[in-house]
């Protein structure tokens, strides 16, 4: 099952490599990974999406907690949560294609953020399924480049991940 693990870790050199190293060393799977400092510059927030059954996820969580620099870990998928991913893409857009692409972007509530005579650069945010659907809709053949940030997520309601 797909899970979103979200954690706070000390914003120190080498901390990220320990997290990544753990996943490869123990043969856990990383689908996406995002990381950046929080409002407290001594802490980073890291979100990783991974696949595994309950037993595997339990082990991953325990092993992550064992890393000295990891302060807290939660599995966002255990409760109601919001997830978002940002995608930037370049799409061939000339002639009749232009209007067609524009329409699709509007339907998905994306934005065209840069334009040339033959290329649109598009920005789109949403959950991963929505981004996948957009790629389907515009069609692989006219896509020139895709950049995705990977998932970041947060719990719904009053729940927070803080120290």
């Amino acid at each position: 099952m797909r899970r979103i693990l979200s954690m706070l870790l000390e914003n120190e050199p080498g901390a990220l490599s320990r997290v990544v190293g753990l996943f490869s060393q123990r043969n856990y799977n990383i689908e996406t990974l995002t990381v950046a400092a929080t409002e407290d510059p001594t802490l980073s927030r890291l979100t990783v999406t991974t696949i595994g059954d309950d037993k595997v996820i339990e082990q991953i969580t325990k092993q992550l907690n064992k890393l000295i620099e990891v302060v807290k870990v939660v599995d966002l998928t255990e409760g109601a949560h919001i997830e978002r991913e940002l995608m930037l893409l370049k799409v061939k857009a000339s002639g009749a294609q232009r209007a067609e692409v524009k329409r699709t972007v509007d339907i998905f509530r994306g934005q065209i953020v840069d334009v040339t005579s033959s290329v649109y650069t598009i920005q789109l945010a949403g959950n991963s399924d929505k981004l996948d659907a957009f790629i389907q809709a515009v069609g692989r053949t006219c896509i020139l480049e895709v950049v995705r940030t990977g998932v970041s997520g947060i719990a719904r309601g009053e729940k927070t991940l803080t120290i």
């Binding site: 870790l9 050199p13 080498g14 490599s17 060393q25 082990q59 907690n65 120290i163």
Partner: protein
């Protein structure tokens, strides 16, 4: 109070003094020279110069296993640092507290492929509990405090400290204060077990009909062997130990049923398989213990106590998990037990013991003596046990000799059986024994080894000479990589691919060259006398070269991918 200004190098040495470290083991080189100079200018911390950095780490490891305190090694950057990796991995697998100080090229050159630069933080990362790099000389006391704290608390382990040369420059001085305390928001090892879970565990223990206590290295690391013994005696339950847990419960106690697992005793493996309750204490259900996990102990409920939550339900699902330090959890168990005043079902226990005693009587560690004129390796360990009165520190290498030592030397005390269990590192035995002997000069320290393993760190005979470390090396010489050969006999129709050690050195001449003694024993009737002679040379390192039956196998041996009870008991008997 006047504040002291010290260079980074002086701070390191001063910290070690203040921490009470008496010996460090190491090898100098460019990036560590400021530190070596600081060592030279004092005499509180004694540095032991090994002949290979791997041995420095194993010495620190031996010290740590014998005392429970972190051992400290010091090496230079590049090859000095990479030479420590096997030793660090050995300590990591067995959760041994250790601090390894590594020189590094100056911070200005890091990343430039400078002479003797390796990314030690990266190289060591998968085999350390943690690693730290010094970013500024003034941080040194704090970084070292953190290193010792992490190494010795919770589930212990090795910590590497990477120290760029400019951090130790002699002319840059900063304030030094010895930091006594440290608190880390991201690392808080548990202090006690959950009382409710402990109550649940006791309910199960009191109603069990066929219980087994299965205890591991965590009992020894957690200083819990007294409480374990008390608990086992109070309940009257049988106790089996893992390879790492030997000595955690007295080996001569009648409730002790031997080691379990791949080369465990018949009675221990049978008892495990037929148990209705397994009480795992500081053990991790290693694959060398469980055999096939899906066939493991089909009728048993499992209580699992460990300080590391990640060890619980990793391979075998626990019914009652308890996270906490072993000693504190056992203390709570004993006190709850006393409050309740209840006893387990005595009639059921009696039946259970009757069954176990039958298994014991059936096998009882027997081995054949009629199939060879030569000395049996098992007999060597039995004689060694007798002559040292069961009191020696036994530091083993890896192979058949290690298993024979584990099976036939009965350890009544913890911290006396010192071996590389998790990583199985050949070459561990001699330097580990040296680390122990240095700390316990009055005690008998024996290295049980094979003619293969001993050659993996044989250069340390020179260090033994320099520092006068009269360990006794008992080499079960079967003229082959015996354990490999055994697997080839059993799984590869005796095709002995590369498992013979042709052209062994003349150990007598070798010992003479290093300034030590050697004795060769070839006949069974000379065994005891030969060993006695060796141990009578109190102040000498003696290499006892015992020529043993090269065809002997270690039994029992679990059948691969079977259950606990599927074993070979001899070359021809399978149960």
């Amino acid at each position: 109070m006047t504040t002291e200004l010290l260079s980074g190098a002086d701070m390191i040495v001063r910290f070690l003094q203040d921490e009470g470290v008496e010996h460090i083991y190491g090898y100098p080189g460019g990036a560590a020279l400021h530190i070596y100079d600081a060592l030279f200018r004092q005499d509180k911390v004694q540095h032991i110069l090994v002949r290979h950095e791997q041995a420095a780490v194993h010495m620190a490891d031996g010290y740590a296993r014998a005392t429970g305190k972190a051992g400290v090694a010091l090496v230079t950057s590049g090859p000095g640092a990479t030479n420590t990796i096997t030793g660090i991995a050995t300590a990591f697998m067995d959760s041994i507290p250790m601090v390894v100080l590594c020189g590094q090229v100056p911070s200005t050159l890091v990343g430039q492929d400078a002479f003797q630069e390796t990314d030690m933080m990266g190289v060591s990362r998968p085999v350390v509990k943690h690693n730290l790099s010094v970013q500024h000389p003034s941080e040194i006391p704090g970084v070292l405090r953190k290193a010792f704290y992490i190494a010795q608390s919770g589930r212990p382990g090795p910590v590497v400290v990477d120290i760029p040369k400019d951090m130790t420059a002699p002319n840059e001085r900063y304030e030094y204060v010895f930091p006594r305390k440290i608190k880390l928001r991201s690392y808080q090892p548990p202090q006690k077990g959950h009382a409710g879970q402990i109550r649940k565990a006791l309910d199960m223990m009191l109603s069990a009909r066929r219980p087994v206590i299965y205890s591991g290295g965590g009992i020894i690391l957690g200083g819990a062997s007294k409480r374990l013994t008390e608990l086992a005696h109070t309940l009257g339950f049988p106790v089996t130990n893992t390879l790492m847990g030997l000595g955690g419960f007295p080996g001569t106690d009648k409730q002790f049923i031997g080691m379990l697992g791949m080369h465990g005793s018949y009675e221990a493996n049978m008892a495990m398989h037929h148990a209705d309750l397994i009480i795992a204490l500081g053990a991790r259900f290693d694959d060398r213990v469980t055999n096939a996990p899906d066939k493991f102990c089909p009728g048993a409920k499992i209580i699992h106590v460990d300080i590391d939550p990640a060890s619980i339900s990793k391979t075998i699902q626990a019914d009652v998990p308890i996270v906490g330090p072993l000693d504190a959890v056992l203390k709570e168990m004993l006190s709850q037990l006393e409050d309740r005043g209840a006893k387990p079902d005595q009639e059921a226990l009696k039946q259970w013991w009757k069954q176990i005693d039958e298994w014991r009587a059936y096998h009882g560690g027997r081995y054949r003596t009629d199939d060879s004129e030569m000395i049996k390796p098992q007999a060597v360990i039995e004689a060694l046990y007798k002559i040292t009165k069961g009191k020696a520190f036994v530091c083993s290498d890896v192979g058949q000799h290690q298993m024979f030592a584990a099976q036939y030397y009965k350890f009544d005390k913890p911290n006396r059986w010192i071996n590389s269990g998790g990583l199985g590192t050949m070459g561990f035995g001699l330097p580990a024994a040296m680390g122990v002997k240095l700390e316990f000069p009055e005690e008998e320290v024996v290295c049980v080894t094979g003619e293969g393993s001993i050659q993996m760190n044989i250069q340390e005979l020179s260090t033994c000479n320099q520092y006068n470390l009269p360990v006794k090396i008992v080499c079960l010489n079967n003229q082959s990589l015996g354990m490999v050969k055994q697997w080839q006999d059993m799984n590869y129709e005796s095709r002995h691919s590369q498992s013979y050690m042709k052209s062994l050195p003349d150990f007598h001449k070798l010992m003479e060259a290093y300034g030590h003694e050697a004795i060769t024993i070839t006949k069974p009737e000379e065994l005891e006398e030969g060993l006695r002679k060796a141990f009578a040379m109190k102040d000498k390192l003696v290499f006892v070269n015992v020529m043993v039956d090269p065809f002997e196998h270690v039994y029992p041996m679990q059948v691969a991918r079977g259950s606990m009870k599927d074993m070979w008991l001899s070359k021809t008997e399978r149960v």
